[in-house]
């Protein structure tokens, strides 16, 4: 092949698109369809709890759209980071949906599953080969053991392995956003610089176009560079829009580390082919001395209960900071009196939506707000304690006067009961890479057989 065309229907499986856009991608000669199924962006819950952010019905709809066109065109479909976080449960969840969709469509496509989940005991053997990425420090065995789930972010190699074995649908666990789109062109011999750069630009589907709502994009990679165009004929890519996507969700806009090396776009040139297609040349890829896989892990920090009330009285809002400070003091006292808990045995955050809830101390605006939503979020070692603290707060969230008031105000609860139990809360604790071989940490299964 002298060029490879990668169809990216959307930034995420389950987000939806107009089926006509993928049909158009096929008409333009797509050789492969690749789509991301998740990331860490929505927080540690999805990895910690091994559940998906998307709903099965939306994932089924999107797979139906892709399988229909891919089977007709005889091209593979690659899904990365299945089930949002790429746990084994996430891969099996998408695989189950895919099996139902294939049966419904009467299609018999070969489906490969690539598992990326790691167990703490196995990783402990690698401790001397695990290195921290800033801002985290050295890893210890205790931290590994505290995680409910750990995944490794695969590069393109396990996906290529599955494709070479004949997979027509590849359902990958956690993979780098780019590996999903880079695998097929790299397998077909396209150069790594343009391939990884194109993969980064199309990872979010139509976000590099002037209408991100209009569906995905098609990237055509060849020996010297790549071109990119939107699948919706009414949308356009421009050199600025395409170049700007290198900045999206990257700490460093010039260089991006992948398991086997670093994409370097400092010399890249973006040229308009016409008013909606852009060509990119000059992208480079420097192969690393050491192959590395990035680890992600999440652990439980406690259990949360939320309560929400609202204030509209301008007399209270004029002293809202004083009211909030008093609330924190009185709540701490009441919890000590009634539950016998000291400050270290639970934690809470009081957020004033409409005042400074989003930015807190960083909020640049001042002046009294018109209305304020008061959210109390409590974290405790168990759910019952978190809810008990929120229940102790309830009369205060209904009636607490400001320091200068000599009567009892009543505030507006939007629902009853006021407390919402949120279950376990999680945090990410791994930001480390492990020195290993490309396939070492992953398991590939095709048609019931284990490939690697």
């Amino acid at each position: 092949m002298d060029k490879v065309r990668v169809l990216a229907p959307s930034g995420m499986l389950g987000a939806g698109w107009d089926h006509a856009t993928v049909e158009r991608g096929i008409a333009l000669g797509a050789d492969v369809i690749s789509i991301d199924g998740g990331s860490t962006d929505s927080g540690p819950y999805y990895l910690g709890a091994a559940t998906a952010k998307t709903t099965a019905k939306a994932v089924a709809r999107d797979l139906r759209s892709l399988f229909t066109v891919a089977a007709e065109a005889g091209i593979p479909v690659i899904v990365g980071s299945c089930g949002t976080s790429g746990t084994d449960a996430g891969v099996d969840w998408v695989a189950g949906i895919a099996a139902d969709v294939l049966a419904e469509l009467g299609l018999d496509l070969k489906v490969a599953r690539i598992y990326s989940e790691q167990d703490a005991a196995g990783l402990k053997e690698y401790l001397d080969r695990i290195h921290p990425l800033p801002p985290l420090g050295e890893l210890d065995a205790e931290t590994l053991e505290s995680c409910t789930h750990i995944v490794g972010a695969m590069g393109h190699e396990p996906i290529v392995e599955a494709l070479r074995a004949g997979a027509q649908v590849v359902l990958a666990g956690r993979a780098t956003d780019t590996a999903v789109a880079a695998a097929f062109p790299l397998m077909k011999g396209m150069p790594p610089g343009p391939t990884w750069h194109a993969a980064k630009i199309i990872e979010c589907g139509g976000q590099c176009t002037d209408n991100p709502r209009a569906g995905g994009v098609l990237a055509t990679i060849d020996a010297d560079g790549f071109t990119i165009e939107p699948l919706d004929p009414a949308a356009a890519c421009t050199p600025i829009l395409v170049a700007a996507h290198m900045l999206y969700e990257t700490a460093n806009p010039h260089q991006m580390r992948e398991p086997d090396g670093t994409l370097d776009v400092r010399e890249a040139e973006y040229t308009a082919v016409d008013d909606r297609i852009v060509r990119v040349t000059g992208s480079q890829f420097h192969v690393a001395d050491q192959y590395t896989i990035k680890l992600e892990g999440a652990r439980i920090t406690g259990y949360e209960t939320m309560s929400f009330s609202a204030i509209r009285d301008p007399l209270v809002l004029a002293e809202i900071d004083e009211w909030a400070a008093l609330m924190c003091t009185v709540l701490t006292q009441r919890v000590a009196q009634t539950l016998g808990l000291s400050a270290g045995e639970y934690a809470f955050d009081l957020r004033l939506y409409g005042h400074n809830a989003v930015l807190g101390e960083l909020e640049p605006e001042s002046g009294p707000p018109r209305e304020v939503g008061v959210m109390l979020l409590v974290n405790a070692p168990d759910q019952a304690t978190a809810t008990a603290v929120a229940k102790v707060a309830n009369p205060l969230m209904l009636h607490l006067p400001t320091p200068s008031m000599d009567y009892l105000p009543s505030f507006a609860f939007p629902s009853s009961p006021a407390e919402v139990e949120r279950g376990a809360a999680y945090e990410f604790v791994l930001n480390h890479v492990v020195d290993c071989a490309p396939l070492e940490l992953f398991r590939i299964e095709l048609e019931g057989k284990t490939l690697a």
């Binding site: 900045l247 969700e249 990257t250 700490a251 930015l359 960083l362 974290n379």
Partner: protein, 106 residues
């Protein structure tokens, strides 16, 4: 005369997570004159004061070909923790956008 802010000279100011441990934000300036103002006005000291982070951890990229100034620093609050009120860091650009700057030469 009303004061000029970075937002007044920008097409878009945005912020987002760059993985669970970093925040990144971009000022897409409307033209080269606005870019010059942003490139001169935004530095580690300004960002450290706005976001209460250590100057030494801040990375600033000035990209004249795109009229973009990009800022990255470690997330001060762990993503998803009790004190994290902006899971995607999607609203953290606002203090930067409101920074008062000299008006570009007419």
């Amino acid at each position: 005369m009303p004061e000029t802010t970075l937002a007044d000279l920008a097409h878009e100011v945005r912020s987002k997570n760059a993985g669970p441990f970093w925040v990144t934000m971009e000022l897409f300036m409307r033209d080269a004159a606005g870019y010059r103002v942003a490139a001169d006005s935004v530095n580690e000291r300004v960002i450290a004061a706005l976001y209460h982070v250590d100057e030494g951890t801040i990375r600033i990229f000035r990209i004249p070909s795109l009229n973009v100034v990009k800022v990255s620093f470690p997330r001060p609050v762990s993503q998803g923790s009790l004190l994290d009120r902006d899971m995607h860091a999607g609203q953290h650009h606002v203090p930067l956008a409101r920074v008062v700057v000299p008006a570009p030469p007419a």
